[in-house]
């Protein structure tokens, strides 16, 4: 089996439904196609280059950010606006098709995840996989997230940052 698409924590494997492996290019296509994308940024990338890249990606496509854990502080200090939610809170809202979304314009159709604790993220993605058919999920961590609809593969830091840079680049 391809080492890159074994869930990073191998036992989060949950059943027959597995995420699609994506490159920055496919990720970009997904974002472009989305009507109301949302980025969820977790505390695992507080004060890191990945956080900077994540915020660039949101700028590029004008995607609102939800920060989880205490990522809000680190983002704010970096001058990046975000709305703070608990990870389980935002997932809970996302699964309600009638939720108005962070901008009040309706629920989101694509949610990008980055920097969330792996196993907790996996659980949140499982919730969305099962209960939010109206939301597509895409993970931008350096870990393969089998519970997402689409995920980057397992990577080392270097390759990962390149992936993010590619996605953030304005061409």
């Amino acid at each position: 089996m391809n080492e890159r698409v074994i869930p990073w924590q191998p036992t989060v494997i949950a059943g027959p439904k597995q995420a699609l492996l994506v490159t920055p290019e496919t990720a970009e296509m997904m974002i472009v196609k989305a009507k109301r994308p949302l980025m969820v940024v977790g505390p695992l990338i507080n004060d890191s280059p990945a956080q900077v890249l994540a915020s660039k990606i949101t700028e590029k496509w004008n995607i609102p950010i939800v920060s989880t854990g205490d990522a809000f502080k680190s983002l704010t200090e970096a001058g990046v606006p975000s709305k703070s939610y608990g990870l389980v809170e935002i997932v809970n809202l996302l699964k309600d098709p009638d939720w108005k979304g962070v901008s009040g314009e309706g629920n989101h159709d694509l949610v990008l995840f980055i920097g969330v604790i792996y196993y907790m993220g996996s659980q949140g993605l499982s919730t969305l996989k099962h209960f939010a058919p109206h939301v597509k999920t895409l993970t931008l961590c350096k870990f393969f997230h089998s519970n997402a609809d689409a995920s980057f593969p397992n990577m080392k830091d270097e390759e990962w940052l390149k992936y993010l840079e590619k996605l953030a680049k304005i061409d």
């Binding site: 191998p10 027959p16 439904k17 854990g69 809000f72 200090e77 389980v88 997932v91 809970n92 659980q123």
Partner: protein, 790 residues
């Protein structure tokens, strides 16, 4: 709401305190009727599985279950596995939501059974020792000795024998609940949840029975002050023979302590414990030592220090025999729960067992008699400890460095670690002679030695042994302390703090309980406790959490137990005791409702829970919850209306109870005194919440102490802490503060300007404070309902 129709009083046939069950057991006919007359009984005495369903539905409507499936499939019957993705139903018709709820019910049943099985055996043992008539006397400061039993059973237990009826009732309920997990039974998630809540209540009841029995019969502290006891691997004298007890049942440990006393060997043998058994042995005899929480298990066994390992029940590594045999320690199993394939020598002569164990004729022994365990364990330890001395010695660091060089940096140790701790980094640094990363993993149980990395290692490095041995070299002084479990909160204490808690002057009661599946080690728990102690909250603790708190020292080198008193009052750090002692936490809340608010207890579950939900600013925190017991405890606590915060691993329980602040209709409450439905605030906002890290948790906990009933003064105090902590950890004031300000008087002085600005932005309008906030029906409704059903 589909469930408004049932509020009848239980029929008399269920009222077992009446004539039917009067027994001549002990020669006397106890007449309970005088004291607990039926007139004063509430509607839900000995509630059946469905009797509290209406209350559950109220909770579940507001705190909708949130499911995070841990597996997409179900594998519970031979029709399966069934794939439940994409809205597909299994072959039995179940959908993923109900399946998750079923699994939660199953976990709660298992957890609850663990406590009740424990209580049943303990009670049997204590009755055998002390007799059925042995009085349950909690001392002069406690009249309500068993608040949960009072509510559920409508009874005050006067003797050990009286506790049996409650266990009978509980066991019957448990079988019904477990039955519902069978394929083709319950079909709706909310009904599974209602049953899980019932299992949680049974858990709470079982724990109360267990702890009450042992406090009374073994004369453990009765809510008064308790001494500090030694904690930490460094407190164990390796020169002496060492007997280690692991588990939860105090009986074998007590057997050992008694034997030592009888034989005047107290100074010759070290008795120590891991997990709750440790805490309970020190409640019985403060001379015993606590090695630490569950996370110390494999470390301590690997250290080779224990000569004899006595295991009783719950939270014992299932490979304890294999691990102990690796360094020639002897294992004695002592309950039916853990037999390990060992020969049952209960009826064998002690001399013979000792001989067989010492000569390695048997792998270990199952001895179901705690007194015999005491003798055998001690005598074996005395005999083999000399020969085992070499095993307790530290290996050369050089040797470990050499081993570490074999690592091929595959990284799998990190991937399989539940917390992805940097084990590989520790190994590769050690290969270069830098052992500090190992030590970082070791301290505060950041690595809780679950052993998964070691199991996975491709080059078979004994990672846990390496970790343990490295750290023994560097961690010279692993000596801490913990206050011995003090048991229940006394009525006198409640009299003092009842009003300030209900009014909000004491900003909250926060209970750090449970296990050590922490994402970043035990320090996080200690720091949270410290934060709230400094802020005048009452901090309660128990079990492994209490030990984790004891393993933390401030810059002056003091533990929190040294810095804070043990009374149930603002700035008190109250260790109630072991897992079963957790019963005293809802117990204290119940007492507030009774002593301060004069709510009758007997058969009055819903009113009491409603009172707690709306008025008692308590919050449980199970930061490292891992077990089915923890699931049952939390769910039971929730049913009483007390919110609980778990750590990120808690999402693997598959279900949380989350509120929706964007749906104001969910927060409407009945002001019973005013007779009006009013807009409430989201207080408490969630009933079971998983936070991602300590920073988030701290802020959430502060918020979850807010209650509709807070006076303006109380609300000010609570909001002040909430805003402070939000500012500290998030850098700003929280947007949602506006939801919690009813009148300007609610605003904390320090933040007045900023908050007013926020209020203005949202077009805030003041509103009246509720006089008697509640989810119960208005009194007239209830009356007419009753008329209806006749």
């Amino acid at each position: 709401m589909i469930l408004e129709n049932k509020s009848k009083a239980k029929e008399l046939k269920d009222d077992f305190w009446k004539s039917k069950k009067i027994t001549v057991t002990t020669g006397k006919i106890t007449d309970e009727t005088q004291e607990n007359s039926t007139e004063s009984m509430g509607p839900t005495l000995k509630p059946s599985v469905t009797d509290l369903r209406e209350w559950d539905m109220k909770l579940l409507e507001r705190y909708t279950p949130f499911y995070a499936p841990f597996c997409d499939m179900c594998c519970l019957c031979t029709y399966g596995k069934c794939d439940l993705t994409g809205g597909k139903k299994g072959a039995c018709g179940i959908d993923i939501e109900a399946q998750q709820a079923r699994f939660v019910l199953l976990a709660c049943c298992i957890g609850s059974a663990a406590h009740s099985g424990h209580a049943r055996h303990l009670l049997e043992y204590l009755i055998e020792q002390k007799g059925e008539d042995f009085p349950i006397d909690m001392g002069t400061n406690i009249d309500i000795e068993a608040p949960i039993m009072r509510v559920v059973m409508g009874k005050r237990p006067k003797t050990l024998g009286d506790l049996k009826d409650a266990l009978d009732y509980l066991e019957e309920q448990m079988v019904h609940l477990l039955s519902a997990c069978h394929t083709g039974q319950e079909g709706k998630s909310i009904d599974f949840e209602s049953k899980a809540l019932h299992a949680g209540l049974m858990d709470n009841l079982g724990k109360e029975i267990g702890d009450l029995a042992q406090i009374a019969a073994l004369n453990m502290p009765k809510g008064g002050d308790a001494p500090l006891v030694e904690l930490g691997m460094g407190t164990i004298d390796k020169e002496k023979p060492v007997v280690l007890c692991i588990g939860h049942n105090v009986a074998p440990g007590a057997g050992i302590v008694d034997y030592l006393e009888d034989q005047e060997l107290e100074d010759d043998v070290e008795v120590c414990g891991i997990c709750c058994a440790a805490l309970d042995i020190t409640r019985y005899n403060p001379g015993a030592k606590v090695v630490g929480p569950i996370s110390k298990q494999l470390k301590f066994i690997r250290s080779g220090v224990a000569d004899v390992v006595v295991v009783d029940e719950q939270c014992v590594r299932t490979d304890v025999l294999e691990e102990a045999r690796k360094n020639k320690a002897c294992v004695i199993a002592t309950t039916d729960k853990i037999c390990l394939g060992l020969p049952d020598l209960t009826d064998e002569d002690a001399d013979k067992i000792v001989k067989q164990l010492v000569n390695d004729e048997i792998e270990g022994a199952l001895i179901l008699d705690p007194d015999k365990v005491g003798e055998v364990a001690t005598r074996v330890a005395l005999k083999i400890s000399k020969d085992r001395e070499a095993l307790k010695k530290l290996p050369d660091l050089q040797e470990i460095q050499e081993m570490a060089k074999e690592c091929n940096q595959c990284g799998w140790c990190v991937r399989v670690c539940p917390n992805n701790h940097p084990m590989m980094e520790a190994v590769t640094s050690a290969a270069e002679g830098d052992f500090s990363k190992f030590q970082e993993l070791y301290e505060n149980d950041v690595c809780y030695t679950c052993g998964r990395c070691e199991q996975e290692c491709e080059v078979d490095l004994p990672l846990i042994s390496m970790l343990t041995k490295v750290s023994e070299h560097y961690t010279k002084d692993e000596k801490f302390n913990v206050r011995a479990g003090r048991g229940p909160v006394q009525d006198v204490e409640i009299r003092k703090v009842g009003a300030p808690i209900v009014l909000g002057d004491i900003p909250g009661v926060i209970a750090f309980v449970g296990c050590t599946n922490y994402p970043e080690g035990g320090e996080d728990v200690a720091k949270m406790a410290e934060e709230f102690l400094e802020r005048n909250y009452i901090v309660v603790t128990s079990g492994c959490g209490a030990m984790s708190i004891g393993e933390y020292r401030d810059q002056e080198g003091n533990t929190l137990y040294e810095r804070y008193r043990g009374d149930f009052d603002a700035k008190g750090l109250v260790n109630v005791g072991s897992c079963v002692s957790n019963a005293h936490i809802p117990g204290a809340c119940i007492k507030i409702a009774n002593i301060f608010a004069k709510k009758p207890l007997e058969g009055n579950f819903e009113e009491i829970a409603d009172y707690i939900l709306n008025r008692v600013g308590a919050c449980g925190v199970a930061w490292g919850a891992y077990s089915q017991k923890a699931a049952a405890i939390a769910t039971g606590i929730n049913r009483w209306g007390i919110p609980v915060v778990v750590g990120p691993h808690g999402t693997k329980y598959r279900r949380l109870f989350l509120g929706r602040t964007d749906q104001p209709e969910k927060w409407k409450i009945n002001d019973l005194r005013a007779g009006e439905v009013i807009d409430g605030e989201p207080a408490p906002e969630h009933l079971l919440y998983a936070a991602e890290n300590r920073e988030e948790a701290t802020v959430v906990i502060a918020k979850l102490c807010i209650r509709p009933n807070d006076t303006s003064k109380g609300r000010q105090i609570k909001l002040n802490h909430y805003l402070d902590l939000h500012k500290k950890y998030f850098g700003t004031l929280p947007d949602d503060v506006v939801k919690f300000v009813r009148t300007e008087k609610d605003i904390p002085i320090t933040y007045k300007k900023e908050v007013l600005k926020l209020l203005e932005e949202v077009g805030w309008e003041p509103k009246a404070l509720p006089q008697e906030p509640s989810l119960m029906k208005f009194r007239e409704e209830k009356a007419s309902d009753k008329g209806d059903s006749k």
